[in-house]
């Protein structure tokens, strides 16, 4: 553990950089490993080698379904502004199984100039399993954000996760008319790139491009490894007729089921993705359907 800085409590506070030695904003990092540990009650996944710096925390894992560690990531409570840097590095070792989520959306505020940088490096060793289900990223109008999420898998490592992006604040009719978002999501296996996805918006025309966002403020990606044509078919049946006016497509890239949705409301997007996740969770991970308790609060 390193020195703790004061935690900002609101956006106004965030206008005052308090960490001059690290550029213009908060610099926060969180590094950890998940390992399978034998206890008196059998095997369970525990956090080891936890290091955090700055306002990026993690709660103690809890175990609502036996061995799997459910872990809440706590982003900076005042949101993220230009110049902030968040660096998350998580490794799930052999036989470990962790499920990560966040208690709420991560907010990226209007930038005065600098770009906020978020790096999320997730590594899953052979035999390990990682589920990555943070709540949505909300990019306020004028936010400048560079996000890089990399998932490095070895051998038969398993991964399921999503990334949900909200441009502007549709509930308040605030459109992302200015700002700059570049969010990459890459999966590689044994060092070779398998799939790379990107959301890039830095011109107002990118919002209404007919082959791009089509004026939908939200874009979501769900991925799950270990899938095949039969599971793709079952997933398609699950969402059949439920997308309404939301463009929604599923495909299979090698063994990765990929689902993409455009929409206007987070709950509706999640209502399409969660049943697919739960079905695959049951089939591939032999874990019960259910959603993280914190989403209900």
């Amino acid at each position: 553990m390193t020195v703790q800085e004061p935690v900002p409590t609101d956006q106004a506070h965030r206008e005052q950089p308090t960490s001059p030695s690290h550029g213009s904003g908060w610099q926060a990092s969180l590094h950890m490993q998940l390992e399978c540990s034998m206890t008196g009650h059998g095997a369970k996944t525990v956090m080891t080698g936890l290091h955090h710096y700055g306002p990026l925390r993690v709660q103690r894992p809890f175990y609502p379904e036996g061995d799997t560690a459910h872990i809440y990531l706590l982003h900076p409570p005042g949101g993220v502004v230009g110049g902030d840097g968040l660096d998350i590095d998580i490794t799930a070792r052999r036989q470990a199984h962790g499920l990560f989520t966040t208690p709420g959306a991560t907010k990226f505020y209007l930038s005065a100039g600098d770009t906020a940088r978020v790096r999320q490096a997730l590594t899953v060793e052979a035999g390990g399993t990682l589920e990555w289900f943070p709540q949505e990223n909300i990019f306020f109008p004028g936010a400048k954000v560079h996000m890089d999420t990399t998932i490095d898998l070895s051998g038969n490592a398993r991964f399921m996760g999503w990334e949900i992006s909200c441009l502007g604040r549709p509930v308040n009719s605030e459109i992302f008319e200015q700002g700059n978002i570049d969010a990459r999501f890459r999966i590689s296996r044994d060092g070779k790139p398998v799939m790379i996805e990107r959301l890039k918006v830095d011109q107002p025309r990118h919002l209404n491009a007919t082959s791009g966002l089509r004026n939908f403020p939200m874009q979501a990606l769900f991925v799950a490894t270990g899938c095949n044509e039969a599971l793709l078919e079952q997933a398609r049946e699950l969402i059949e007729g439920k997308a309404g006016d939301m463009p929604c497509g599923l495909t299979l890239i090698d063994d990765i089921l990929v689902m993409r949705v455009l929409g206007t409301r987070c709950e509706k997007i999640q209502a399409l993705m969660i049943p697919v996740w739960q079905k695959l969770r049951q089939t591939l991970l032999n874990k019960p359907a259910g959603i993280p308790r914190i989403w209900n609060t």
């Binding site: 890039k200 491009a209 082959s211 791009g212 463009p247 495909t251 949705v261």
Partner: protein, 229 residues
């Protein structure tokens, strides 16, 4: 660029090159079916978005890197960029298209008297990359034939655009002259797309066209289809 190089580039970008280019719509068949594309203006806007966010942001910069790797006989870089291009392909149909076109182009090169003697066509590592994406064979041929890089990118861009417009003319359907007007509307902006693509950093390469990716995914289960993507 020599006259031979010019004409060889024309051969590579011709719709008559037997690599089946006209059998792929890259999601456009579904976009037409569902009403996203109804007329010539819609075709222009659809392709204009792809030009900026996909072809100019991904294919052309990767093509330039494959060309340099060919010139430098750097099979490691050549394979890396072929892998990267394929990883960016958003759906199983778009991947299949990339591989099928790559393999078909390799077979064309295998049978040309000049190209058949290239050592790259005999070596498994090069052939693996060539079979992953048509950009690989295109880049190798352009480098071998001393086609100027900028002209190679312009040529690739034109052949993509022409093919997409031919697809749209068949699908909507449009009159031939409507298709020609769409092509003509692009002629002033294509050179700038190439020039921009030539200065993109490695880190800034990558496509972002979510609705096209969804259209291509939905095309996989489209009931009645003429096209393979």
């Amino acid at each position: 660029m020599s006259n031979s190089a010019f004409f060889r580039l024309q051969q590579l970008i011709s719709p008559s090159l037997p690599i089946g280019a006209f059998t792929y719509s890259q999601g456009m068949e579904w976009a037409v079916e569902c009403g996203w594309i109804k007329d010539a203006d819609d075709v222009y806007v659809w392709l204009d978005g792809l030009l900026e966010s996909s072809v100019g942001a991904l294919e052309l910069p990767v093509l330039a890197r494959l060309y340099h790797a060919s010139q430098q006989q750097d099979v490691e870089a050549f394979s890396h960029w072929a892998d990267t291009l394929l990883a960016w392909r958003e759906t199983s149909e778009l991947r299949a298209e990339e591989c099928q076109r790559g393999q078909a182009l390799t077979m064309v090169l295998d049978k040309l008297p000049d190209a058949a003697g290239w050592p790259e066509l005999q070596q498994p590592e090069w052939r693996e990359a060539l079979g992953q994406t048509q950009l690989a064979g295109f880049a190798l041929a352009c480098a071998r034939w001393n086609v100027d890089l900028e002209q190679a990118l312009n040529g690739y861009l034109w052949s993509w655009l022409e093919n997409m417009v031919i697809v749209a003319v068949k699908l909507i359907p449009l009159g031939q002259s409507d298709g020609q007007r769409v092509l003509y509307r692009f002629s002033d902006q294509l050179a700038a797309v190439t020039q921009q693509a030539m200065i993109v950093d490695d880190d800034d390469i990558g496509s972002s066209s979510p609705a096209m990716a969804i259209a291509s995914s939905l095309h996989e289960t489209q009931y009645c289809r003429l096209f393979r993507s």
